[in-house]
Amino acid sequence: MAVKVISPGLSTSVQDLGRPGHYHVGIPEGGGMDRFATRIANLLVGNDPDAAVLEATFMGPELEFTQSAIIAVTGGDLPPKLNGEERPTWESFPVKAGDRLSFGFLKGGARAYLAVSGGIDVPVVLGSRSTYILGALGGHQGRTLKAGDELPVGEGSGKAGLSLPANLRRARSSLAELRMLPGMYWHRITEAAGNRFFEETWKVAPEADRIGYRFRGGTALEFVEREQPFGAGSDPSNIVDACYPYGSVQVPSGTEPIVLHRDAVSGGGYMMLGVVISADMDLIAQLQPHTPARFVPVTLEDALAARTEQRAALARAEGHLAG
């Protein structure tokens, strides 16, 4: 069984739940940017939650199947079409040999996840099938898909007609509220700049990918004056190169915040204002450029409570699918 790529879409890659454990040599965890959608797509087609799926960004690919399978599309609102006929998202349906899957225009969110029963069976590299594009590692030849690629699929046994109702999915809103724990190098900016950072509404910039999301539209930060430490570099936003947490909010030159995501660069020389909490990483994955966004300060206790809540939401969805 295989999936043939007729056209690749804008940026489509093989992803699973990632490869932790190699960040100290600069290899990020990677994996589906929207973890909830990745897991649910797999469960809908009878796979383990960590099977490999296709992550399509903004625009879907066109694919042909060489054998029957059960498939499902989750995540952003990118309507699948089977041989030209629209099919629902968040619901499993059958395909047979020679069938073509394409997608309509994106109606909401940013990334869709396509699971095929049996999972995309590219080689496991460092414990994962995820594509790390910057390092040309994993996935299908270490890169996004191209027309003419053929992806092997494992043996599966899903059933059609399984679906996740809307009330068990994350609700989408027109203003993204990214909860963040201030810290790291927060002390480098003035109190007024810190207050403004949270009060202002930012917008997702076009530079938004698997590495990170850039935001624009707020006021440039004012830094607390200091003599730059030895080795840090001369810009007030420079630090001696340090590790970057997933979700960390760096502000090069104090102008445009960048939130690092699953394919984060693992370190560098820009100060960070804090870190977006783990429960809001999936939300970022579904933001389109120009979406208004605000950063909302929370405490560690809030972050842990949100994480517990997120796990409960996943458990409810899993419970529903387990019947």
């Binding site: 454990g21 100290h24 390092g135 840090a232 001696v240 340090a242 590790c243 870190v275 909490i277 994480r307």
Partner: protein
């Protein structure tokens, strides 16, 4: 000296040993991360040493953030007191300085540079007080470097030269980053050298290129078949300046998969180093030069 600890969201603890770079801070960070690795704390998923700081990633569903923080703090005293002796290795890396490829790239992005009328090497030699590019390269390749961090992208080492502070080479990053840097470029920004493991954007001054791959996701290169990244934090690197003929010959050997870098096990004592920098370095370099 006391480590500044900070929660990076709900999954990371960040520890800043000092704001400024120093070998002592690097060693304290390395001792901390080694202690965390040895302790085998349940729920810890990533242990990342950096130049003068470090980062621990954890799963808060398995280990409570405050408990992990207390455990790290309890290790701090031992880590900063420990006589920093490191069992490590010294790696000799051939570098073709003033090569045509970084030179071409350097000229292509001149308008993004502090001094468009000089090359990166001419500019860096001048601002560091060297009369000629050749003297600058002699200083660059004459004393070894510590791998003080690996990251940004896969396998990219940050290197800190093992000389006293007043001899540290410093250079600003480009005014605006380039959109291109040749793969395996030796670059310099702030007080750090870096080796670009993959082709891509970059802001460091460019001095030369090594024929030796340092990252191989396909693991076909013979010395990268186990670990796809050559460098680990704590490695010592000695650049060996080579010319075009040596570069071409080495490249040919690499393409036939016959070449591998000279690597020797060694022990490094920070105390010995601080009391006699150049004597300590000379002994290290004997390991790769002596047969």
């Amino acid at each position: 000296m006391s480590i500044r600890f900070n929660f990076g969201g709900d999954e990371h603890i960040f520890g800043e040993v000092s704001e400024e770079m120093s070998l002592t801070s690097f060693f304290t960070g390395l001792s901390m991360t080694n202690a965390v690795r040895t302790a085998g704390i349940r729920g810890v998923t990533e242990i990342c040493p950096a130049n003068a700081s470090f980062q621990i990633r954890f799963n808060p569903d398995i280990v409570k953030p405050q408990d992990l923080l207390s455990e790290l703090k309890s290790m701090e005293e031992a880590a900063s007191k420990a006589d920093p002796v490191l069992k490590t290795r010294i790696i000799e890396l051939p570098v073709y300085f003033q090569d045509p490829w970084t030179r071409e790239t350097c000229l292509r992005f001149r308008e993004r540079h502090q001094d468009p009328s000089s090359t990166d090497l001419e500019y860096s030699a001048r601002i560091n007080g060297y009369a000629t590019v050749e003297e600058f390269i002699a200083a660059y390749s004459g004393q070894p470097w510590f791998v003080s961090m690996v990251g940004f992208v896969a396998g990219l080492p940050f290197l800190y030269q093992m000389v006293e502070r007043k001899k540290q080479i410093q250079a600003p990053k480009y005014l605006r980053p380039r959109t291109d840097t040749p793969k395996l470029t030796i670059g310099h920004g702030g007080c750090f050298a870096a080796i670009y493991s993959v082709r891509g954007a970059g802001g460091y001054q460019m001095y030369g290129i090594t024929p030796a791959p340092i990252y191989d996701p396909t693991r076909k290169v013979r010395y990268l078949s186990d670990d796809m990244c050559l460098f680990k934090p704590g490695d010592i690197v000695k650049f060996k300046a080579i010319g075009r003929d040596d570069y071409d010959a080495t490249l040919e050997e690499i393409e036939a998969n016959r070449w591998q870098p000279t690597v020797r096990d060694c022990t490094f004592s920070l105390k010995d180093f601080n009391s006699d920098i150049y004597g300590t370095n000379a002994k290290l370099m004997e390991l790769i030069n002596g047969r």
